[in-house]
């Protein structure tokens, strides 16, 4: 066949393959590109959510401010929460699932590459659907948990909540599809020798998260279906006058809601479990315990939901059970914290920006965990619930935990994704600004909360002892906002101008660092055969891993003729040169996703008596969806 150009120079960061242009992104089925799309999109929504936060804090800076109206304020805090949870943190985690899981387990792609593309497109479209209304002042305004009956027609007659119910329903499809995909990928696409107990901790935590997703999303799907039925078809699920129970929504929502908070935090836990060993030059302390505590957290996470509802009067028995379960879940969480500390103990620590974020997670998350245990006691919670104390709690776990972990992950994996380092100096500005800023913002909220300041109020009177704390919180927010600009600048600039990074720039031990940066489209020229948890350290510095298990005798080990022992790949070829079949690019998943979104977007028109428009969109969308699916399923993958 045709002669082939010289192999691409290793270490020369030339994007992911030789195909470029917008179409190569629209039709991509490469998990690394999809991961990149997730990353950019989620960072964009992160900035949107952050901007909303800045406006919220400006309004609360001093007593009785008139920066925004009450209605605008409601839209802002609703969209801030919804955006951060569903459009920023979850998809940022998804960016790492996509980019990292196949690399960490030694696979060439995910189990279902096209389904993966579909998940992304559904996310993008759902995100747009949810976000655009705020530009027209019709954004959802019922809180991120959308309590019905507040969100039913009777109390929320406008289109605002329509966007919320439909948007979340559509985003659920994306998360579920992705979760089935990653469960299958992790079970079935691991390289020879990559037993479950050799998987990198990030993959393990992601594995747990996928189960949380497939089991926690159905209850909220059902709750949303009921709300959609109530709002558009006149059912009475949440109609108190018809005998409905006002707690139905709350229970269904929190059955989802508490596992959801672990969906938000566990990927960040996974990321720091990669960062800490690397920069401490020591294997993760207590790997097995880390795995089991992760599973334990996921499992117990389904049995604590009603701690969000102590104030509704469930009775002594229910309160006691849920309180005990909640205190119990703090144990595996604490175990993780001690294991991270023990990992650093006596290590050769390098304080890179990524490491600083990881260490910050340990500290900040611990503070959030402690306030969590405080309101796991119903009498204490009755004082704290619906005050700024709760806001302080969940921002310490979500900002101090999830966001810190994810930012650390971005600094850590940026060289793998792009072949270039992010700038450490700018990174330090970003880190310290964020770290100081978040404490300045959220620590005072503990006090304003305990002094009685309720959540979700758009203004407050002077003289209640809240003024100083609010002022501090607002300045802290501005500091975070400014340091985020350093991050954005660093991120955008380093892609093309950062220092060139090799395949293993940090001296890490797991598989993803054995291949060039950025990885070639097929990831591994040959399937690696793995015989320990840190195959690359075995290769380069066996002393480091001498203390950990290297057993070869394992029932799950299936040696494959194509596999070779782990080595550092330095040369780059195209998939064609190596004869590796790659999934074909296709826009069918996008087409199908557009069909799904169109189908749902017909619903709001029902309310505005535009029956014909509604039917056209719904039926047209359904046809696109079904047609797209048929076209997709009947065309070959590769």
């Amino acid at each position: 066949m045709a002669t082939i150009a010289a192999p691409t120079q290793a270490g020369k960061p030339d994007a992911y393959s030789n195909t470029t242009g917008i179409w190569s992104w629209i039709a991509t089925t490469d998990h690394k590109r999809i991961g990149t799309l997730y990353l950019w999109t989620a960072l964009f929504f992160f900035l949107v959510g952050g901007l909303e936060a800045v406006i919220i804090r400006t309004q609360l800076m001093r007593p009785n401010m008139g920066f925004v109206s009450a209605d605008t304020y409601n839209q802002l805090f609703t969209m801030h929460g919804t955006t951060m949870v569903f459009l920023a943190i979850m998809p940022l985690s998804a960016a790492f699932f996509n980019f990292l899981i196949p690399l960490q387990i030694g696979a060439r792609d995910v189990a279902f590459p096209r389904l993966n593309a579909f998940s992304y497109w559904v996310y993008l479209l759902g995100g747009i659907f949810l976000t655009v209304p705020i530009l027209f002042h019709v954004a959802p305004n019922g809180g991120w948990f959308g309590y019905a009956p507040l969100t039913s027609n009777q109390f929320s007659p406008g289109n605002n909540i329509d966007f919320w119910v439909i948007g979340l329903q559509v985003l659920g499809v994306s998360s579920l599809a992705a979760a089935f995909n990653f469960i299958t990928t992790i079970i079935n696409m691991r390289a020879p020798g990559m037993t479950l107990m050799r998987m990198p901790m990030f993959t393990w935590m992601s594995f747990v998260v996928q189960f949380l997703l497939i089991l926690a999303f159905p209850p909220i799907t059902v709750a949303l279906v009921f709300l959609i039925m109530d709002r558009f078809f006149g059912t009475t699920f949440y109609a108190i006058a018809a005998g409905a129970d006002p707690l139905l929504w709350q229970h269904l929502f929190w059955v989802f809601g508490h596992p959801e908070v672990y969906i938000l935090i566990l990927p960040a836990f996974g990321l720091v479990s990669e960062i800490l060993p690397t920069f401490s030059k020591k294997p993760l302390f207590g790997y097995n315990v880390m795995v089991y505590s992760g599973i334990m957290i996921g499992f117990l996470g389904f049995g604590v939901w009603a701690h969000h509802m102590f104030a509704v009067g469930m009775g002594a028995v229910a309160d006691t059970i849920f309180s005990m379960m909640t205190m119990l879940i703090a144990i595996p969480t604490g175990v993780k914290i001690f294991n991270w500390i023990a990992t650093m103990w006596a290590g050769e620590i390098r304080f890179t920006v990524a490491m600083k974020f990881a260490i910050a997670l340990i500290g900040m998350f611990t503070i959030g965990g402690i306030s969590g245990v405080m309101h796991s006691s119903p009498p204490a919670d009755l004082q704290q619930t619906d005050t700024y104390f709760i806001v302080a709690h969940f921002h310490y776990v979500l900002f101090g935990g999830s966001i810190m972990g994810i930012l650390g992950g971005i600094y850590f994996y940026f060289p793998k994704m792009t072949g270039r380092f992010m700038d450490e100096r700018l990174g330090n500005w970003h880190f310290w600004g964020t770290f100081v800023g978040m404490n300045l913002t959220f620590f005072p909220m503990h006090f304003s909360g305990l002094y009685g300041m309720p959540r979700r109020v758009y203004r407050y009177d002077a003289g209640q002892g809240w003024d100083l704390f609010n002022l501090m919180s607002t300045y802290g927010t501005y500091l975070i906002a400014v340091s985020t600009l350093f991050f954005v600048w660093n991120f955008v600039r380093s892609r093309t101008r950062g220092a060139v990074a090799g395949s293993d720039p940090w001296g890490a031990g797991t598989l993803e660092w054995s291949i060039p940066s950025p990885p070639p489209e097929y990831n591994f020229a040959q399937l690696p055969e793995v015989s320990s948890r840190y195959p690359l350290w075995d290769l380069k510095d066996p002393a480091k891993t001498a203390g950990i298990d290297h057993s070869h005798a394992d029932a799950m080990t299936i040696t494959d003729a194509h596999a070779v022992p782990v080595h550092e790949e330095t040369e780059r070829f195209t998939a064609k040169e190596l004869g590796i079949p790659m999934p074909l690019p296709t826009a069918k998943p996008l087409f199908t996703a557009v069909g799904l979104m169109t189908m749902f977007s017909g619903l709001p028109f029902l309310r505005n008596d535009m029956f014909a428009v509604a039917m056209t969109l719904t039926i047209g969308g359904a046809c696109m969806l079904i047609g797209g699916l048929y076209a997709w399923l009947t065309s070959p993958l590769e």
């Binding site: 089991l215 049995g303 229910a318």
Partner: protein
């Protein structure tokens, strides 16, 4: 290795006639359920609901074990499904307790 697995399961798969027997058993259980529904004395008995639930669980198990051949398949599938099913049943039961469907 995958072929071995396949062979092992194929030999254990029920045959058409066994499937027929299973279908008959399922139909008979359903018939008993409906029959019981029409006997007022039975409906009044405190054992009526538990008995119906047990019969339905039995049918459920038979279909999953044999028709969905989870009994003969890789244990991974059993794990995936049973774990989810147990969690679903626990959650549903807990919800019903919380809403006072059962009286303690």
């Amino acid at each position: 290795m995958s072929d071995d697995a396949k062979h092992a399961t194929e030999t254990h798969h029920p045959t058409g006639n066994q499937y027929l027997k299973i279908a008959i058993i399922l139909t008979v259980i359903t018939a008993i359920e409906v029959w019981a529904y029409y006997i007022p004395a039975l409906v009044a008995s405190p054992l009526f609901n538990p008995a119906l639930i047990i019969m339905s669980a039995l049918k459920f198990a038979i279909v999953v074990l044999y028709y969905m051949h989870i009994k003969f398949d890789h244990s991974l599938f059993r794990l995936l499904f049973t774990a989810s099913l147990i969690l679903a049943m626990c959650t549903g039961t807990a919800l019903m307790f919380l809403f006072g469907v059962f009286k303690l």
